[in-house]
């Protein structure tokens, strides 16, 4: 069998070689050279450019039509809604620019395809035109910058809310821990040298503020309508706390505490009733059924979004957004660090 394959390959090479020789020999007989671009070539390639432009746009719209509703659902946080608005405005703008300029490009590529009868127009510059397409983008960009920075300042500015929930997200290879302040409303100090099996986030055992802190894994709860201020830390390498449904992201950097805050606007239960989410989940569960997997419900997620090692792709935590009363009931049931430690 392998001998036959070998034989076939050898024959193919010989045939290819002979073919090339014929082509090479016939070169000398032709008046025009193979590499010379003829009117036919220009005509064909010019038309192909046009066709490509049309197909390219068709492909673009096909994708938008097919995949746009698989984008993340509408933001579930207050600032996220603003980001979405700004996103849409910018996206419209660049889509128009993208379509217009590509249209000109492929139209000209077709229209001015070469012909030996034609002569190009000598047109080296036009200051007015150039001024036009310097000023117009500049003005458009000014708007983009102004709105972008306005929202950026609001989102990243210091928290002014008094009644807020402070949560620490602690990252390590390859899982997350959420730490709540407990009754005293203060997170205890930490010291990475005190990390041990029983002290996974490195609480400073001399700081009494830490005694009532609450640690949770796999899933954490937050109340709807209240500002959540996240403080992020990392034990080993850089991770990134990415909560895409809330339009929230911040790196967790060893040696420093980074922050991000947002106010969730929709509980997990409410999100599961959202028509967009229902449709999206139907699509997801249809695919899961094909693969013989169990159907799933919508959940908010915290993902790691900075390369952190071999299991980077599986570093996740569920987020449950509750009504405030449900949240209070849940947090009351959680055990403080000290009580957990005492029992050991």
């Amino acid at each position: 069998m392998s001998l036959l394959v070998l034989l076939a390959i050898v024959l193919l090479i010989i045939a290819g070689h002979q073919l090339l020789r014929i082509i090479e020999l016939s070169r000398g007989l032709k008046k025009t050279k193979e590499w010379q671009v003829s009117d036919t070539d220009n005509n064909m390639m010019g038309k192909a450019m046009m066709l490509f432009g049309v197909l390219f746009f068709a492909f673009f719209f096909w994708q938008v039509n097919r995949w746009m509703d698989r984008s993340l659902p509408p933001a579930a946080s207050e600032h996220g809604a603003k980001i979405d608005t700004l996103w849409d405005a910018n996206m419209w703008l660049i889509t128009i620019v993208f379509l217009l300029t590509n249209t000109f490009l492929f139209w000209f590529a077709y229209k001015y395809r070469g012909n030996s009868q034609n002569k190009a127009v000598y047109y080296p510059h036009n200051n007015k035109l150039e001024m036009l397409w310097t000023v117009v983008p500049a003005v458009a960009l000014a708007f983009i910058i102004i709105f972008g920075l306005k929202y950026w300042g609001e989102i990243m500015g210091n928290s002014t809310e008094k009644d807020k929930v402070v949560i620490e997200l602690y990252a390590k290879q390859f899982d997350w821990t959420a730490r709540y302040t407990g009754k005293d409303g203060q997170l205890g100090e930490t010291d990475f040298r005190q990390i041990s099996g029983g002290n996974s986030v490195g609480l400073d055992t001399t700081d009494t503020f830490g005694y009532d802190d609450i640690l949770v894994k796999n899933e954490f709860h937050i109340p709807v309508g209240k500002e959540i201020e996240f403080k992020m830390r990392s034990r080993d390498v850089i991770h990134s706390a990415y909560m895409p449904h809330f339009r929230a992201q911040m790196n967790c950097v060893p040696g420093m505490i980074t922050t991000f805050k947002f106010k969730p606007t929709k509980t997990t239960a409410a999100m599961r009733q959202d028509p967009y989410v229902i449709k999206m989940m139907a699509g997801i569960n249809k695919q899961r059924e094909l693969e013989g997997k169990e159907p799933v419900q919508f959940d908010y997620l915290l993902l790691c979004n900075k390369i952190c090692g071999s299991s980077h792709y599986n570093m996740q935590m569920n987020i449950i957004v509750d009504e405030e009363t449900d949240y209070n009931a849940w947090i009351a049931k959680q055990k403080a660090v000290k009580t957990v430690a005492d029992k050991k």
Binding site: F52, N118, I238, I307
Partner: protein, 607 residues
Amino acid sequence: MATPTNTSLHEEHLVHHDHVHDHDDHEESFVSKYIFSMDHKMISRQFLITAVIMAVLAMTMSVIFRLQLAWPGEKFAFVNAMLGDKWGKDGILDPNMYLALVTIHGTIMVFFVLTGGLSGTFSNLLIPYQIGARDMASGFLNMLSYWFFFASTVIMVSSLFLNDGPASAGWTIYPPLSALPEAIPGSKMGMTLWLVSMAIFIVSSLLGSLNYIITIINLRAKGMKMTRLPLTIWAFLITAILGVLSFPVLLSCALLLIFDRSFHTSFYLSDIYIGGRPLDNVGGSPILFEHLFWFLGHPEVYIVLLPALGITSEIIATNSRKPIFGYRAMIGSMLAIGFLSFIVWGHHMFMTGMNPFLGSVFVFTTLLIAIPSAVKAFNYITTMWKGNIQYTPAMLFSVGLVSSFITGGVTGIILADSTLDINVHDTYFVVAHFHIVMGLSAIFGMFAGVYHWFPKMFLRMMNKKLGYIHFWLTIITAYGVFFPMHFLGLAGVPRRYYTNSNFPMFDNLVDINEIVTICAIIGALAQGVFLFNFFYSIFRGEKAPRNPWNANSLEWTTPMANIHGNWPGELPTVHRWAYDYSKPGKDVDFIPQTTPLEEGEEDGGAH
């Protein structure tokens, strides 16, 4: 602008070359002609062929990890054949090797193909040719530049065969992941070799860049004012300046990382507990690394892109049979891009914990860069307007470049806006953006350059029909690979995930990943057409005439033979800019730069 006063230098060259010329072709040994050559044309060929080999390697890597992303857990004999039982057991890619492939793919493409390959090939080939010089200012440094480059590629490739695998912390090698061998196997010996390779590469890049700058400034032929230079040369000049100013910063960045890794310093490390113990390192910050890295990293984007844009300017003008539209505006916008590229690095760091109000400054500067970029795109399109476009394969790729430059450029406006970056930072939206700019635009520029200047490099012509097939397959599949990635980003898929199957929320994206991978495989195979055409034409292509594309610039006035000193007799004298195509009142549609101005005729570059 004063005319260059370098006649004495030239005469020296001339005398020298006239003297040795008779012996050159016969007595030169194999080693001095093909290996340790100091001739800019041979060095250019060396760069190109090395880059082609590296590109094939990096592309094959991408096919391997694309297979895994579209069909995770599926067994592929190809994966096993490529990686062996250790990294591709039963044909399934190992997660650590996945990260290693992603890392080395990025490193090779960015540094070896698009920096070394693109600048090294075309700066070397075209600078002496297009400015009318005998060779580079220093042939010896030029030779060293190539051999440092070669050594760095050999070291990088050899790291693939290490027991623990090559570097795998991503091409941006952020510490602590890259600094701690406990964090990932690739941060053992693999990372050491990566850093050594990169340090040598930086030396190569600096030697090359300094040479390019000096040559352009000092060795221009008589009459070759700066405002008569082809835009290719302007692009190479600005690229070289960017390289000289930014690569040393990468070296310092890498050096501090080497210290942290080998000598227990704490430049980038603090408060770390790993491998069951707290580390002694205190006081450093990974943010420092990120600043240093991106201080090179962002100019690097333009180091990659500007030569491609320069090449395209030349090819679009020549093949539209029209002067490049807005010659001075093109130079101005390249200078503006070059300047701005040094003050935008922070836009890679909006989400890193850097002070958000510092981020605001970078939003402003980054969005400014869109203005000169837009000017360039519009000027290309206007150059084609009312042209008489000759569709050589090079022209096809140039048009492709303009299209992808726009497509990839507009999403940059989104990513530069810190507010919008929050949710797409480090997702596939970013991957789509920079691949369309670098993987399409810059690579198209490189292909265009190869097709256009192949006759000058190898004295033979490439096959046109194969070039056509290559272009169409490439642009269709390349857009097929990278356009759908935007939608993965919109769905929130993070980059560098070994598989998305651990998140039910990404289950409905399977078909997108399949389309991407299928396009990637076809696109990779299509490069076989190019490779065949390239290597076949080197040996058996049709003999090239002196000026196959009827172009104006000086390289087409040299005889079709690779002779030392480029011009057998005197160096040419330049009388006009490089873009007198279809000038009214002339019989032919091109006027070489060596043709004297007629009485009362105005030089086109003079506006």
